[in-house]
Amino acid sequence: MTKLWINMGPQHPMTHGLWNLKILVDGETIVDAEPVLGYLHRGVEKLCERRTYNQIIPLADRLCYVSSLCFAHAYCLTVEEMMDLEIPERAKYLRVIALEMQRLTSHMTWLMAIGPDVGLITLLLYCLREREYFLDLLQLQTGARMNQNYPRIGGVAQDIPANFEHKINKIFEKFKVRVKDYHKVTNESSAFLKRMQGVGTLSVEDAIAYGVTGPNLRGSGAKRDMREHDPYEVYDELDWEIQVRDEGDSLARFHVRMGEMLESCKIIRQALKKMPDGPINVKAPLRPEGQSFRRTEDSRGEVSYYVVGNGGESPYRLKVRSPIFCTMNVLPKLLRGVNVADVLAIMGSIDVCIGETDK
C-alpha cells in the first residue's frame, strides 16, 4: 500500500490551536509524524525588550489563554528574585489560591476538550458547566475570567471579597459530586477505556530525555513537581500530594489530571484557612539590575523564565521556557505505529496549548 502524508492542521478539529501535525499513514497506521509550529508566533520575547517591567505582566498573561495567571505569576516571581524583593505573606497565599483556581479551570478545559476528541461531546458540555463555577470564583478574586492581569511585581492586584470562603466551600462540595459524573462517562465506561488504555505509552526515560514535564511526566511515573522540588510562594507549608501514575499511557495522564483537580481544591481550602491578615503589595524598584532564573509548575508542566536587567526601564533579555513546546518533540516517537484515531487520544491527553508553545 502506498504511504500518504496527511496534514492534520492548521485548521483541523484535532488541533486545539493553530498548528499542523503532518502524519505519514500506511493504511490506518501512522508511520511517521512531524509537528509543524509557527502559525501563531508573536515574538513575545522580543516584545518584552521594548516594555517596562509592569507592562510585561499583561503580555505574559497572553502566553497561554487557558492558564494565563500561571505565566504572569512566573514572570513576577522571576523579576522579584532579581530585585531581591520579599513580598507580604498574605500576597503569597492569595497567589497560591489564584494559581490553583487557574489550574482547576485549565484542567477543566482539558477534560472538556478530550471529550470531543474521542467523540464524547456530552463530556464537553458537562465540563463547561462546572468550569463556569471556577471562572466565577476566579473573577471574584481577580476581576476577570481570562487574561486576569492579577499578579504584580511585589504582590497581587487586589484582595479577595468577604464571602469568598463560603462560596468556595459551596462550589467545591458541588464539584466533588460532579467529578463522579465525569468518572461515570469516562473512567467507568469500557468504550472510553478502550480508547485510552495502553495508547501512547511514554516511558520515564524517554519522558526525561525529551524534556517532558508536568502531568505528562508524572503520568509516566516520575514523581516530580516544581511546587514540591523547587518550592515557591507557600506550597511547602501546605499539605498536599503529588499525583503519580506508573503506566505512562493516555489513561495514566488522564488520572493524574483528575487527581490534581481534587488536590487543587485541597490546597485552596488550606490556603484560605492559613492565610494571615496584612498588606498585599510592596513597592518595587523601577530600574532593577541583575539576572535571575525561576521555574514554576504550570498546569501543563514546568514554566521557567530567565530575565536579565541592565538598569533600564525594560529587561535587557527575557527567555520563556514553555512546557508544551518541549513536549511536542516527543510526538513523533509517541505517534509512530499507532492508529490514526489514536492521535486524538494521545493529543487530548497531552493537553496542547498553542499560545504558549508558539510564543
Binding site: 499513514v25 490506518e28 467523540g119 464524547l120 461531546i121 465506561s189 480508547r195
Partner: protein, 384 residues
C-alpha cells in the same frame, strides 16, 4: 387483505378523477389538434389510472416519511440536549406570543439554509460519481420506507421478501459512502470511504444472520407474517415478542444496526475529530442536507425494523395499530439517541474486532437457538 393503498379502493377514484381532468384538458386541446383526442383516450385507459394510483400511494408514503423525519430529527436534538443538561433547539416560531418555542421549525430553517449554500465541486473530484453518491444514499433510504408496514393496512408494498428488501436498501448506502469517499479526491474522504466499506463487511453479516434467526422462528421473511407470528404464538396468554426467545439476536442486532446507521459509537467513517467530516468532507449545500436527512430517515427505518422483528410490530391494546407502531419506534429511536450521546467513538480496528470476533459467532448462536426452538415446537415441547 384490503390495504390503505389498495388500488380497488378510494385511491382508484382519486386517480380516475386526476386522469379525468387531464383527459378533459387533452380533449379541449383536441379542438385544434385532433391528435390530442388519442391522448385523452390514453389518459382514460386502465393502465394510466392504475399508474396514478401508484403515484398517489407513493406520495402519501413520502409525505409520511418527511413529516416523520422532522419529528425524529427534532426528537434527537431535544433528547441529547436534555442529556447534556441543555434545552436543545429553541428557535421561536411565528406564534411565539403563545409559546416560547420548542424549536420544531429549526430543522426547516436548517434545510432552507442548506438549499441556499454554495454548491462546490472539488477540482480533483470524479464529477459524475461525486454527484451520484448523495442521490444513491437518499434514494436507497427512501426506498426502504416502501416495504415498512405501519399496520396491517398501512403498507406501500406488501413484499414477500420485505425484510431482505429493507436490509438491501440499507446495504446500498455503504457503497455510496465508498463512491463519495473515492470520488471526492481528498485524503480524508478516501480514508472515510475505506472505513465505511470495512465497517459494512463486518456488520452486514451479523445483521442478516439475526434476521435469518427471526425468519426461521416466524417461518417467513414478510414483515407482516413476522408480526403475525409474534401475535399468534403466545405463552400464557401474553404475546410472544421475539426479543425474549431471541435475546442474543436482539442485542447483536441492536449493535449491528447502530453500526449500519453510522451512529456515534460507530461513526468512524465520518469521525469528525480525526477525519474532519470523513467521507462527507467535500460535500456541500443541499447534497449534504440530503445525506443528513437520509441518515435520520434510516434511523427511524432501523427503529421500525427492530420493532417489527423483536417487539411485536403494531400489536398492543386500545390504540390503533399505527399509533402503537409509532410509539414503539420512537422509544427504540430514543434508545439509539441515548447510546449515541453517552459513548465515545470506538477505533476502527476495535470495531472490526467486535464485529468479526464477537457479533458473527453470536449471530450464529441465534440461528442455532431459533432452529432448536423450532425443532422442539414440532414435537409440542416448545413454547414458541
Amino acid at each position: 387483505m384490503s390495504g390503505l393503498f389498495d388500488l380497488g379502493g378510494w385511491s382508484r377514484e382519486i386517480s380516475a378523477f386526476v386522469s379525468g381532468i387531464l383527459a378533459w384538458i387533452a380533449d379541449l386541446l383536441g379542438g385544434w389538434i385532433p391528435w390530442f383526442h388519442d391522448v385523452a383516450n390514453w389518459f382514460r385507459s386502465d393502465a394510466v389510472i392504475e399508474f396514478w394510483g401508484f403515484a398517489i400511494a407513493v406520495l402519501i408514503m413520502l409525505v409520511f416519511a418527511m413529516i416523520n423525519l422532522l419529528v425524529v430529527l427534532w426528537m434527537e436534538r431535544k433528547l441529547y440536549g436534555r442529556l447534556q443538561d441543555r434545552r436543545g433547539v429553541m428557535v421561536p416560531h411565528p406564534w411565539k406570543k403563545i409559546h416560547k418555542g420548542t424549536g420544531f421549525l429549526q430543522n426547516m430553517a436548517d434545510g432552507i439554509k442548506l438549499v441556499m449554500k454554495e454548491s462546490i465541486t472539488p477540482r480533483n473530484a470524479d464529477k459524475s460519481m461525486f454527484h451520484a453518491a448523495p442521490a444513491i444514499i437518499f434514494i436507497s433510504s427512501v426506498m426502504a420506507y416502501a416495504a415498512i408496514p405501519l399496520s396491517t393496512t398501512f403498507v406501500l408494498a406488501d413484499l414477500e421478501l420485505g425484510l431482505i428488501f429493507i436490509v438491501a436498501m440499507f446495504a446500498l448506502s455503504p457503497l455510496a459512502v465508498l463512491i463519495a469517499g473515492w470520488a471526492s479526491g481528498n485524503k480524508y474522504t478516501l480514508i472515510g470511504g475505506m472505513r465505511g466499506a470495512a465497517q459494512m463487511l463486518a456488520y452486514e453479516i451479523p445483521l442478516l444472520l439475526c434476521i435469518a434467526g427471526v425468519a426461521i422462528m416466524a417461518g417467513s421473511l414478510n414483515p407482516m407474517e413476522v408480526v403475525a407470528a409474534q401475535q399468534r404464538t403466545s405463552v400464557l396468554g401474553v404475546e410472544n415478542w421475539y426479543f425474549i426467545p431471541q435475546f442474543i439476536g436482539f442485542v447483536v442486532f441492536m449493535v449491528a444496526i447502530l453500526a449500519e446507521l453510522e451512529k456515534l459509537p460507530f461513526d468512524i467513517p465520518e469521525a469528525e475529530s480525526e477525519l474532519v467530516e470523513g467521507w462527507l468532507t467535500e460535500i456541500t449545500d443541499i447534497r449534504f442536507g440530503l445525506i443528513f436527512m437520509s441518515k435520520w430517515m434510516k434511523g427511524w427505518a432501523a427503529a421500525a425494523l427492530v420493532v417489527l422483528l423483536f417487539f411485536g410490530g403494531w400489536s398492543g391494546p386500545f390504540f390503533p395499530q399505527e399509533v402503537w407502531f409509532m410509539i414503539k419506534t420512537y422509544i427504540v429511536f430514543a434508545f439509539f439517541v441515548w447510546i449515541a450521546w453517552i459513548l465515545p467513538r470506538i477505533r476502527i480496528d476495535q470495531i472490526l474486532k467486535i464485529g468479526w470476533y464477537e457479533l458473527v459467532p453470536l449471530s450464529f448462536a441465534t440461528i442455532l437457538i431459533a432452529v432448536a426452538l423450532k425443532f422442539l415446537s414440532h414435537f409440542g415441547m416448545g413454547w414458541f
